[in-house]
């Protein structure tokens, strides 16, 4: 070979792969940069405090009012409600798949969960709109079926696969000795699962719950289509709300380029970005800090 030695060539190749691997971090930086670039001008029109905690979102009025508090509340409430539905179902199904299911049942159930995860969000939103909304409206005699309950149910369907598959991984990786020791002490299968396996897998299960919540808070199409779109702090679970992603998606298409409203929508995206970033960093911290110890360390 002429010119460069084999070692140099290997070093160049390694450096090349390192640069590519770093693109994810670079892209994350670019996301922050391009969001801020389009978001910061809004703070010439309103203060940070009025933006975050103002209770009136009237971006097209004259004079406009850019308070996103109702949108934040809307996002939080549908996230909490969907988590309350998705966590028990997700974790219990993970227990079934990991601990109780016959291998053949497992072979069917895992793809079912994957397919559920693969359902496009716009299809779920559509289903919520044409099936669940009219049903809710008739059954509970409501002015509209597009409300918190509907959005939470649909978001729960999106969060369940995340929670279930990550929890299942965690439960499955609990060392077999733990179970055997528990059985040897005369514990029933139920007692072993609830007092030994689940506690041993708790960090993985918590990570699953946090990632499921992060998924729900950032989900757009479902809340855009079924949450109702009322930009007010809700008083009951049957009220309509306008979560942050819905507001961005609904309004960005109609707002003039680089108007205050346009910048305000980018600022909402910044809030949303950092909210989910926080969730992900917590999940990362929990899964590393409380990583299960193998049986060898006991």
């Amino acid at each position: 070979m002429t010119g460069i030695t084999r070692t140099t060539k290997e070093k160049i190749i390694k450096a090349f792969f390192f640069i590519i691997a770093a693109t994810s971090v670079i892209i994350l930086g670019l996301i922050i940069l391009s969001l801020f670039r389009e978001a910061w001008p809004i703070f010439r029109a309103t203060s940070m405090k009025d933006f975050l905690f103002g209770t009136e979102w009237y971006p097209t009025y004259d004079p406009p009012s850019f308070g996103i508090w109702p949108l934040i509340v809307g996002s939080l409430i549908v996230t909490v409600c969907s988590t309350l539905i998705a966590v028990p179902i997700g974790v219990l199904s993970a227990i079934y798949i990991s601990e109780l299911a016959h291998p053949r049942a497992k072979e069917i159930l895992k793809p079912v969960i994957e397919l559920l995860a693969g359902l496009p969000s716009v299809v779920l939103g559509f289903f919520g709109m044409v099936v669940l909304a009219p049903w809710l409206q008739d059954t509970f005699d409501l002015p509209t079926g597009l409300n918190i309950v509907n959005a939470s149910l649909m978001l729960a369907i999106m969060a369940i696969p995340t929670i279930s598959s990550i929890s299942e991984d965690a439960l499955y990786s609990v060392p077999r000795e733990f179970k055997e020791a528990s059985y040897a002490l005369g514990a029933t299968k139920y007692e072993t699962i609830v007092r030994v396996i689940v506690p041993a897998a708790l960090s993985g299960v918590s990570t699953a719950v946090i990632l499921g919540m992060s998924r729900a808070i950032g989900e757009t199409m479902v809340v855009l289509m079924v949450a109702g779109g009322a930009a007010a702090v809700p008083e009951s679970l049957f009220d309509s709300v306008r979560p942050m992603p819905a507001s961005i998606a609904a309004e960005m298409g109609e707002t003039p380029f680089r108007s205050d409203h346009y910048h305000a929508l980018f600022a909402i995206a910044v809030v949303l970005f950092f909210l989910t970033l926080a969730f992900n960093l917590i999940a990362d911290y929990v899964s590393h800090k409380f990583r299960e110890e193998g049986s060898a360390t006991l």
Binding site: R6, K9, E10, F16, F17, F18, I20, A21, T23, S24, V25, I27, L28, I31, L35, R37, E38, P88, I89, G90, L92, S93, L100, L109, V112, L116, G118, L119, P120, S121, V122, V123, G125, F126, F127, M129, I157, T188, Y190, E191, S214, R215, I217, G218, M221, P245, I248, A249, M252, L265, F266, A269, L272, F273, T276, L277, F279, N280, A283, D284
Partner: protein, 289 residues
């Protein structure tokens, strides 16, 4: 211990197992119910004309051919962006990296990228590709945005596939005096290929179903012509469903079209997922190590 106590312990177990099975049944019911309902409502709308003709009469009649074509372009574009980046990243993570602070930062970066909400990707694409780089709302901008969205999926699947190649393969190759890169290229990557392909297929499926990232970067309400270059806007199936279901003037009248489009999208996305799952279990069974 009294025997009544033991019975109570088994009753508790019985109740708990019932609850667990109920959870699984609910999941199966949700998936089955949604699929069955859309199938029953949608299949009458599906016809050869529906799949091969453009919409007519202000999108109240006709087919969805341009949306199918547009979604196809976006699928190809996004995988063209994410596959090289994703596989190369995974090669670094699995073959070259040593435990270090830099590695930890890269891993956190990938995890955080995976958690970025789809609408935020949409605005990022709008801010960077559409506005700053002046690509306009186009196939190019949409493919880049979707490609970045599925990048973490591709990296994760590829890394897992690379890690699944036994260490002895590498050692045998290195022992013959083959360089590290040649080992990766000729031994590790070919053996990891099935896993990488499965991950890519799942990534494509995800890209095909996403709406929010393409709303402001690629998708058009309606285009009279098919796209001529990567700088043209396209119609896309997910966005088409959203538009028909929410923005039309005659929403009730176009319901059959909406169900039909939803069914086509589901068939496409779940079909892709299903192929990936089948392919994975096929290659797993064939694996001799």
């Amino acid at each position: 211990m009294k025997s009544g106590n033991l019975r109570w312990r088994y009753i508790k177990q019985f109740l708990f197992f019932g609850l667990v099975k109920l959870a699984v049944a609910l999941i199966a019911l949700a998936l089955g119910g949604i699929l069955l309902y859309l199938l029953m409502q949608g299949y009458s709308a599906i016809s050869w004309d529906f799949l091969t003709k453009p919409p007519t009469d202000a999108m109240t009649k006709g087919g969805i051919m341009p949306a199918i074509i547009g979604t196809f372009y976006l699928m190809v574009g996004s995988i063209a962006v994410s596959l090289p980046l994703g596989v190369a990243s995974a090669v670094y993570l699995s073959e070259y990296s040593k435990k270090s602070r830099t590695l930890r930062i890269i891993r956190i970066g990938i995890n955080c990228l995976a958690g970025v909400p789809s609408i935020v990707f949409g605005l990022f694409g709008l801010g960077l590709f559409v506005v700053y780089l002046k690509f306009g709302s186009s196939i190019l901008a949409g493919s880049l945005t979707l490609g970045i969205l599925i990048l973490p999926t591709i990296i994760g699947a590829s890394e897992e596939a690379l890690k699944g190649v036994p260490q002895t393969f590498r050692e045998a190759s290195l022992a013959l005096g083959v360089s590290k890169w040649q080992t990766i290229y000729h031994i590790v990557l070919p053996n990891a290929l099935p896993g990488i392909l499965t991950g890519s297929i799942l990534g494509i499926g995800r890209a095909a179903g996403e709406t929010a990232p393409i709303m402001f970067t690629a998708a058009a309400f309606f285009t009279a012509r098919l796209p001529a270059s990567i700088f043209d806007e396209v119609m896309a199936l997910p966005y088409h469903i959203y538009v028909l279901a929410t923005a039309g003037t005659r929403i009730e009248e176009t319901r059959p079209l909406q169900y039909g489009t939803a069914l086509v999208l589901i068939a496409l996305v779940l079909g892709i997922n299903f192929v990936a799952i089948l392919f994975r279990s096929y290659t797993r069974r064939r694996k001799s190590w």
